[in-house]
């Protein structure tokens, strides 16, 4: 599962930073039928979480209402240099993860 994440490379301590993630995923709703009338099984990313130096700072339970290739944006406070680590899992059990480091000054 390809994904893009955007976190500032550098921030001041205490600064509110914007974090963005875009994941390539079909987000199959479970309500659609294929060409011969069979229901297509739901397959969505159901949990997306972000840990900042091991502490969970963001968590989302996604479901059928979210479009394909979901884009999520949130804010957190830059506290210390380290890693932001994203993890997600879909209904078929496929996991994805991405990480990016941030340098916090001051």
């Amino acid at each position: 599962m390809a994904a893009r994440i955007q976190v500032p490379r550098e921030a001041r301590r205490g600064e509110v930073i914007e974090v963005r993630i875009l994941i390539q995923h079909p987000m199959e709703t479970g309500y659609r039928h294929d060409d011969i009338g069979h229901l297509i099984k739901r397959n969505v990313i159901n949990v997306l979480s972000c840990r900042y130096n091991g502490v969970e700072v963001f968590r989302a339970d996604l479901s059928s209402g979210i479009s394909a290739n979901p884009y999520v944006q949130f804010y957190t406070v830059a506290e210390a240099s380290g890693d932001l680590e994203f993890n997600w899992i879909d209904d078929e059990g496929q996991r994805g993860s991405e990480r990016q480091s941030i340098i916090v000054k001051g």
């Binding site: 390809a2 893009r4 963005r20 875009l22 079909p26 479009s67 394909a68 290739n69 884009y71 944006q73």
Partner: protein, 260 residues
């Protein structure tokens, strides 16, 4: 003798008129509007956001595929094109391939390289890989004006494309021109009819929830007017793509566009 000369003059006049007609533009260059001009501000903002534009997932994948070796000769696109800028390349397509004399679009060009130079299998039309490579190539011409040529061997294809564009078809008996030349800017149910330009393809379409080629978009129009959809890569689509590129001449490339 005089009569024969008269006929010749008439024939020449008819030819000249035909040529003049061919250059006539239903939408003058000053009034050309990209499809993004017909979007809401939200989708336009999404297209212009290099990070959030979902089409960039394909561009990024294309960048990786570009340097991945494939085929018997174990060559990647980058093996030959190393150090040369691909900027501007996409703007000149569809184009006559010098070796075969055939009209090819960017997808066709990629597959010609694969089969001819890399000894690799051609990529299936509309496959994720071909979309990714096409989007990656077109992205490098971002902002450059479309500049396909219609002279020489391309001329006949251009004329065929023009005829195809003006051909009434399907149960609704409509040609492309009926909507995109005569009614652009007006409403079709909840949609605003665009001028039908190809400058943002491959594009991410909300209706598809994925990235698709210009031919997929053409097929969607044909299905909308209840006309027969041709197979991907067919000659009629290629000719039409050339006519569309000429019709949009000067519009900047926006790939990957975001469309409704």
């Amino acid at each position: 003798m005089t009569r024969a000369r008269g006929w010749l003059a008439l024939a020449a006049a008819a030819l000249a008129a035909g040529a003049a007609h061919a250059e006539e533009r239903a939408i003058p260059p000053g009034e050309l509007k990209s499809g993004s001009a017909f979007l809401g501000s939200d989708l336009r903002a999404l297209q212009n956001d290099d990070f959030a534009n979902p089409g960039m997932l394909w561009v990024e994948r294309g960048g990786k595929l570009w340097s991945e070796p494939a085929g018997k000769k174990n060559l990647a696109c980058a093996s030959c094109h190393q150090g040369t800028s691909m900027r501007g390349v996409a703007a000149s397509y569809p184009k006559i391939d010098k070796a075969s004399g055939k009209l090819v679009n960017l997808e066709g060009r990629i597959n010609l390289c694969r089969t001819g130079r890399m000894g690799a299998q051609p990529l299936r039309y509309e496959s994720e890989e071909l979309l990714a490579l096409t989007a990656y190539l077109a992205r490098q011409s971002l902002g450059l004006p479309l500049a396909a040529r219609i002279d020489g061997a391309a001329r006949a294809h251009f004329e065929a494309g023009r005829a195809s564009y003006h051909l009434r078809r399907g149960q609704m008996n409509l040609s492309c021109a009926h909507c995109h030349d005569a009614q652009w800017g007006r409403r079709l149910l909840s949609e605003t009819i665009s001028q039908g330009h190809p400058n943002a393809y491959p594009a991410y379409r909300m209706e598809w929830q994925t990235t698709g080629s210009l031919e997929r978009r053409l097929r969607a129009c044909l299905s909308g007017i209840r006309a027969e959809m041709l197979p991907y890569g067919s000659q009629e689509y290629l000719d039409l793509e050339l006519f569309l590129a000429w019709r949009a001449q000067g519009l900047p490339i926006e790939t990957p566009g975001v469309r409704r």
